[in-house]
Symmetry: C2
Subunit: 214 residues, 2 copies
């Protein structure tokens, strides 16, 4: 009994410390660029010293991986709420809800755009495996929504839709959310250039793609 109690206490401490570190990193990310953030800066805005942070996270990307997981689940909750409220239950309303809800989570979209190429690269196998395990309920939540809206769709088509949907999230976001410099360069190169908008571009693509699910 005593051993259990001690272990629980220790787990609680680890959890609380991790939460403090995650929140500090989130605060920094709200004010700074991803590139400027490092463990030293993060330590400064917590009560934990820099060397102790390494007991919980070996790299800043391991912290970002935890932020990413939070963001994915936050979006899933939002999605579920919207779907509950959806009276229509149509293919069109499904694609609209997917696109509009994603747009309400710009931090998630930003992180997704370097999730696979940067964040995952700089994490240990152990942290990455934990992340992938922790993400299974997220994927199952999305699969559940696909089952509800497209009860007849074959499994294989639904998995393809999922892959393409996530690909579009990162691709369309990076191509529609240009910085001022990127926009200025485009305008100077092509006076007629108009920046496409995220929600309608994504929604239209999803609507066409979801034909596979009928």
């Amino acid at each position: 009994m005593h051993g259990n109690w001690k272990r629980e206490k220790k787990e609680e401490l680890v959890f609380n410390r991790q939460q403090e570190i995650i929140q500090a990193c989130e605060r920094l990310y709200a004010a700074m660029e991803y590139e400027e953030i490092n463990i030293k800066e993060i330590a400064k805005s917590t009560s934990i010293c820099r060397s102790s942070i390494y007991n919980y996270y070996k790299t800043k990307d391991e912290i970002f991986l935890d932020i990413l997981r939070k963001e994915y689940f936050c979006w899933l909750e939002d999605l579920k709420e919207e779907m509950k409220r959806d009276k229509e239950g149509s293919r069109e309303s499904y694609c609209r809800i997917l696109a509009e809800s994603a747009a309400r989570h710009p931090r998630l979209l930003e992180l997704i755009s370097f999730h696979y190429v940067t964040i995952e690269k700089n994490c240990s196998l152990e942290k990455l495996t934990d992340f992938k395990k922790g993400m299974l309920p997220f994927w199952n939540g999305i699969r559940e929504s696909l089952r509800e809206y497209f009860p007849e769709a074959p499994q294989e088509k639904k998995e393809h839709f999922l892959l393409v949907f996530l690909s579009l999230l990162q691709g369309i976001y990076t191509m529609t959310n240009l910085s001022e410099k990127q926009l200025a360069a485009m305008k100077q190169a092509d006076g007629d250039y108009e920046n496409p908008r995220f929600v309608p571009s994504l929604q239209q693509a999803l609507y066409t793609l979801s034909k596979e699910l009928l």
Copy 2:
């Protein structure tokens, strides 16, 4: 006359120097990770000293932007060749050619995945504007292929297809080309996990999406 000749000589020198720097950076990128490359390393494998490199490129990403442009045009040439050889001229063959030709340019696909979020961010407005101007013939080449295969498609639909196609290139590539560590983590989290393949996933998505163009 004399002034012209001097200017031409100078332009030739600048061009040759830039080519030397680009080629050195390409050689390094074939052997090293993007993150490990810096101007110091690049200078070491050219005949140009580090401080002179800054006369041509202010950051390594300005060099990568030139590599990216080369890669885009290299792919366009490949695409045009394949289309010339295409007897079918169908929607299906168009999507197959797009997906298969892209897969033959893995360096392009890799660079595209951090083109907007990293490379463009670290370039001057001047370099970025030059890049965007230089890319116009590439976009027009792709637009021409769309006109050939889908002569009836409205302009707006073709532009949407282009945006979605480029988004899918980066997204599907990063989600299907996992590192060994990423694959191991996925397998440990979900024993049934099978990594989707780039060409069939992209080809199928393009085929469904190109319905918009009919």
